[in-house]
């Protein structure tokens, strides 16, 4: 009898916990701003290293905590669970997030950042030669997948014309080097790590596949959960401004920026320098996610069937616009153009 009572008690407890579990919603710590990042050449790392976040923390009595993710999908899952208030990720995952989650895109902070790689001695000359070849990619949730489809479609090919192999982004240059696959599409700094090895070469850069902003592909976006944005407009504004200031620093002092990134993301300075020199990751002060850019980008994702026809990304360009004005009022290294 006692056992039955105990079981009933446990059952009722579980029933009570279930709605609480779902209702708990965003786990916003009172004084912690959880900022999702990936270990790449994100200006957020420069902003952090240069102490651009310190005045924000002091002024608003908050702590900006970087939460690192290997790629965009788990970062979005963390944001869906309410564990992140702000996130910086590739434009593919960022657009998926702002279409499906209660979140808005507030800035575009890196251009390019994607390329198709082949082995140094590969006979392949262009994406059109990929027919029948094994191509490694980081999954459909990545921006690399629709870019690959776009590159193929320009040659009249589709995904069924190649052998797709899903792998983690950083492993792709190794798979290409080992000739486990014929080609691979991945993100930076994995591209630069591969190029620095001397065993792989570029088959196509993102700008050759889809130039969408200043002649470049849009690489990375910053997005914020709606309730955090509504409650803390000032913090969001200052975070975006810190990002634009970091971009300005990268444009003014590329070598120093490479050194700072190297310390932050534990990748050799010369590899990051190679990325900047060869324009694998490109930076521009124009970080505004305009309607025009996002309409084109959304169509691109819908064509690749990543977004549903009724998905509409939520964007708020006001923060990036104001940040750009604030930074331009000081000393800038380049008006709006890319870093090269």
């Amino acid at each position: 009898m006692a056992a039955i009572r105990l079981e009933r008690g446990a059952f009722l407890y579980l029933c009570g916990m279930l709605p609480a579990l779902f209702a708990s919603g965003p786990a916003v710590a009172q004084q912690e701003v959880n900022y999702g990042v990936q270990p790449d050449t994100d200006p957020s790392f420069i902003a952090k290293a240069l102490g651009y976040f310190d005045p924000i923390e002091k002024k608003h009595n908050v702590k900006i905590v970087f939460r690192e993710f290997a790629y965009g999908a788990p970062e979005n899952q963390a944001m869906a669970a309410g564990a992140l208030q702000v996130a910086s990720a590739g434009m593919g995952p960022a657009t998926i997030a702002v279409s499906r989650l209660p979140a808005k895109l507030v800035a575009i902070n890196i251009l390019e950042q994607t390329a198709i790689l082949v082995a140094k001695d590969s006979p392949l000359k262009s994406p059109c030669d990929l027919k029948g070849k094994a191509v490694a990619y980081p999954g459909e949730g990545s921006q690399q997948y629709p870019l690959l489809l776009k590159a193929l479609s320009k040659c009249g090919l589709s995904a069924s014309d190649i052998k797709l192999f899903k792998s983690s982004g950083p492993d792709i240059p190794t798979l290409v080097m080992n000739k486990s696959v014929d080609a691979g599409i991945t993100w930076d700094p994995s591209i630069s790590v591969g190029l620095a090895s001397g065993k792989v070469r570029l088959l196509a850069k993102a700008e050759q596949i889809m130039p969408i902003m200043g002649g470049h592909y849009v690489g990375n976006g910053v997005y914020v959960r709606n309730e955090f944005l509504e409650r803390h407009k000032d913090i969001v504004q200052e975070l975006v401004t810190a990002n634009v200031m970091a971009v300005n620093y990268i444009l003014c002092h590329p070598k120093e920026a490479a050194k700072l990134w190297s310390e932050q993301i534990r990748i050799k300075q010369e590899i990051i320098q190679l990325s900047l020199d060869q324009g694998i990751s490109v930076y521009s002060l124009n970080v505004i996610p305009t309607e025009e850019t996002m309409t084109a980008y959304t169509k691109f994702l819908k064509d690749a069937k990543i977004l549903k026809p009724d998905d509409t990304p939520k964007i708020d360009p006001s923060f990036a616009t104001k940040a750009l004005q604030e930074v331009k009022s000081g000393k800038t290294c380049m008006e709006t153009g890319p870093s090269r």
Binding site: P19, A97, R100, G141, K163, K166
Partner: protein
Amino acid sequence: MTSSRQWLTGAARALPFFYAAIVIVLVWEVVVLLTKPDPSILPPPLEVAWTFGHLASDGELAVHTAYSVARVFSAWLLSAVIAIPLGLLMGNSRSLERIINPFVELLRPISPLAWIPMAILWFGIGESGKVFVVFIGTFFPILLSTIAGAKGVDPVLLHAGQVFGCTTRLSLFRRVVVPAALPNIVVGLRVAFGTGWAAIIAAELVAAHSGLGYLIANGMDILRADQVLVGMIAIGVLGFLFDTFFRYLQAHYGRAAR
């Protein structure tokens, strides 16, 4: 009269499962109504039903299901072809069992999922790697059940076989041991299909561009919880249907063996 009674018995057996399915959907709907979670975390049942219908009508669900079933079936068949004769021989020969058993006991505890990286390295990114992973998951349950079946033949049956003319070891093996071990073999085949089904989902989560595991992993990547749930429902329903089929076979062969 008999067929209508059979139908009624079948319906009565299926009733608890319908009841369970209805309760799950009701609880799900109530949780959604009460807590209003973001659809990317928990979509309402109707949205999932719509996605299910959409994926089913455009053939995508059938293609993914066919890939998963084909992979499991081919690996399971391969396992059966190797494990059943080997198990029967091991169950009948102590010396053979002594030689092979250490290998079985050393390899058996390694989860099929642990073989996934090696499968990619050895077999590449094609179908053979996935079939290999499922083969690992299905081989040992069939082998062990077959050994148990062959070893557990009632001595009375063996004696009766000898009395009724099975004078050689081979004829006794063929006419008494194999039929008597059949119920155990069917149990092994049933269990193996279940473990293979679980293994293929894991293998497809890692390195595939098709299959129900891929459908789930892809849904997770693009924040489509509805797609994830469709994949999960398909796995559950198919697993249940296969298990029901094997239960039927088990009952049938159990009766035949008796």
